[in-house]
Symmetry: C2
Subunit: 110 residues, 2 copies
DNA sequence: CTGACGTATCAATGCATGTTTATATGTCAT
DNA sequence: ATGACATATAAACATGCATTGATACGTCAG
C-alpha cells in the first residue's frame, strides 16, 4: 500500500512512455548494456547482434524520452543511462526477477 | 553505473513483459489505483471511467504476469498489487516524474 | 576535395495489441 | 430453480510499432 503523488495526465503519460520503452526486449537489452558504461552505437549493434539502423532507431526513442544520454566523441556517439533512478529501478526489478524464478505457470484463476 | 545480475533470456523476457504491461496508460492507471488498497473490477471500471470488459481484460494480463493478485469475496473479485517491489518501483519513478516536470522538449540531437 | 567510417533518417512491411460489442460463466438472494 | 448482479471470455476492428533495406548526413584522414 504505497502512496502515489497524484500525477497529472501528462505525467502519467510520460511515466507510461518510460515503461513502454523499457517493455521492448531489444530496447531493454540496449539500456541494460549501457548501464555497464558508455557504449557507441556500433558497439551496441555488434555486441548485441542487432542491425545498426535498428539500434539507432531505438536509441533515438530512448534519448528523446531522456532515458539515455548521448555524447559525441570524434566520429562515435556514446550512450549512457541518463538517470540513476532508471538504473536503480531496472537493477532492482532485475534482481527481483533473478531470485524469484520459481516460474510456475502464472495462470491461476480465482 | 549499476551492476546487473546477468539475466537469462527467459528472465529478460519476463522483465520486459512487466515493463510492457506498465507501459499502457490504462493499465498503469489500473495498477496505481490498486496500490491504494484492494479494488473490485466494477469499482475500477467505474472510478476510472472504463468499460467493464476492458478492465477485466487488462486485469487478466496483469494477473497472469503476477503484477496483480486477485481475491474473490462473495460476488466481487478484489485486485491488489502482488509485490512490494512493484509498488515501490512505480512510486519511485512516479515521484521522479512528478518532481522533474521541467518538460522542456527532449529533442536535442548531439 | 575526396574517400572512408560512423551514425541518423526514410519508406515499406508485417505482426502485435488496445478497444468495442456481444455473450458466456459464475455467485448469491428469493 | 430463477432472476439479478459481478466478472470473464470471444470475435472483430483498428491502430501502433518493431524490423528491414536503402540512403542521406556528418566527421575525420590523406
Amino acid at each position: 500500500m504505497t502512496v502515489i503523488p497524484a500525477l497529472t495526465p501528462d505525467q502519467l503519460s510520460l511515466l507510461a512512455d518510460a515503461f513502454r520503452l523499457l517493455g521492448d526486449p531489444t530496447r531493454l537489452r540496449i539500456v541494460m548494456h549501457c548501464m555497464d558504461g558508455p557504449r557507441s552505437v556500433g558497439a551496441i549493434a555488434c555486441e548485441l547482434g542487432l542491425s545498426q539502423p535498428l539500434v539507432s532507431h531505438h536509441l533515438r526513442l530512448l534519448r528523446t524520452a531522456r532515458l539515455l544520454r548521448a555524447v559525441r566523441q570524434a566520429r562515435h556517439v556514446f550512450y549512457t543511462v541518463s538517470d540513476h533512478h532508471i538504473s536503480h529501478m531496472i537493477a532492482d526489478l532485475a534482481a527481483h526477477m533473478a531470485e524469484k524464478t520459481t516460474d510456475q505457470d502464472a495462470a491461476q484463476h480465482p
